[in-house]
Amino acid sequence: MVEFRIDRRSGVATYLQIVQQTKQALRLGLLEPGDRLPTAREVVEATAINPNTVLKAYRELEREGLVEARRGLGTFITRTLGGQAADTPLRAELADWVDRARDAGLEQDDITALFTSVLEERTQDDHKGDGA
């Protein structure tokens, strides 16, 4: 079973931290289909975060089709996320892009800043879409 670590200073919404850590555990193979996620009570007891936040994170994971809530039993993993990102053409495209950025004279820090800012912008746009 996974144990969530909540970073109160990260600036990332708490429920997103749970979503991200679950996905990370799936990618690394720490969680496999059939595994049970800790109950909201278990998470809350260990982390002192709001139980509704845990439930919100699990709903988000369920919406993405990664987990399934079974009444009275708990929340269970239904699929893996293994290897998705590694082999896709996306990775090749990104590698091309990094090469182009290097050629244009960008340092590693510049590239990271640029990537992060675009990613943030896109993520925010997504969330506006969700909220509506």
């Binding site: 919404a13 809350v44 002192a48 909220g131």
Partner: protein, 294 residues
């Protein structure tokens, strides 16, 4: 609409003959099952609001409904912990828990109360209250509140006397209570950072008035932190703006994208509350769920 834990309509309280107002014209709603941060600076009216909800004070204007009735009707189903944690100094810890049992016949959960007292150790049940440290008194006071198995907990600065470990442990106990029983918890604090991960609802009071009320997520989503060149921000309600050299940082209402080299970011709860406290003229904002049904 979900059940309502607390609903205030034009609520106000004036003290003394000169009528100094501790609260004025407060209207808001806290749905049941929420963990609500009651934020605001010292003297904002947080304690007054909690004492009104606990039925210890009577409003001088407006009305307050708690768990669907008057604060008095809700007395058995709500628990209140005052800021100074009043307890009988001559009693022992065990006798204090017995007070809880005797004064709450038919509701008292001795196991829940004893768990809080025993957790973390170092608290002799035979110790007299007057010999306890501030943090230990807080634990006993919270044990009395939890032993009552309340539907609503009203906690006035409950964590002020606690070290970080005890704070985490008690917060976990409160959150577990909320997870197990759907308890509504209202916690007042002027330490905003400690509330960020625990509270899904916020009520910001300042100068006796409600400034912000609603779901934490919704309130944050309703604001955007902008950074960019100094310029006017037409069409936006600016909560706060600061200029540093050629750069302007502003917290604005709304989440519309804005062009022209602006960087946008999601404010943290602390940033949101601080910006409102620094700008007393910013208009109040209540999310639809926090508005009192007409």
């Amino acid at each position: 609409m979900t059940a309502t834990a607390i609903e205030a309509t034009g609520l106000g309280l004036a003290y003394g003959k000169r009528g100094r107002r501790a609260l004025h014209d407060c209207s808001f709603r806290i749905p049941a099952g929420r963990v609500c941060a009651l934020a605001g600076p010292n003297g904002a009216g947080k304690s007054t609001l909690l004492a009104l909800a606990a039925g210890l004070l009577r409003p001088t204007e407006g009305a307050l409904r708690v768990l669907g009735g008057t604060p008095s009707d809700a007395r058995a189903r709500s628990a209140y912990v005052a800021q100074d944690k009043p307890l009988y100094p001559q009693l022992t810890v065990r006798e204090t828990l017995r007070v809880g049992r005797e004064l709450n016949p038919g509701r008292w959960d001795a196991t829940a109360a004893e768990r809080i007292v025993e957790e973390g150790g170092g608290l002799d049940p035979r110790a007299r209250i007057r010999s306890l440290s501030g943090g230990q008194r807080t634990r006993v006071a919270l044990a009395l509140a939890l032993g009552k198995r309340p539907g609503l907990m009203l906690l006035d600065e409950p964590m002020a006397d606690l070290d970080p470990l005890a704070r985490h442990r008690l917060m976990a106990a409160l959150m577990t209570e909320a997870a197990d029983h759907g308890t509504t918890i209202v916690i007042s604090s002027h330490i905003l950072s400690e509330l960020e991960t625990t509270c899904d609802y916020v009520l910001l009071v300042d100068g006796g008035r409600v400034r912000l009320a609603g779901e934490t997520e919704d309130l944050i989503a309703a604001h955007t932190l902008l950074t960019g060149p100094v310029a006017d921000l037409p069409g936006h309600t600016v909560v706060e703006s600061r200029t540093t050299g050629r750069q302007l940082t502003a917290l604005v209402r709304g989440s519309r994208a804005i062009g022209g080299g602006w960087r946008t970011a999601r404010p943290s709860l602390e940033e949101l509350l601080m910006a409102h406290l620094r700008s007393p003229d910013a208009p109040p904002l209540l999310t639809p769920g926090a508005e009192v049904a007409a």
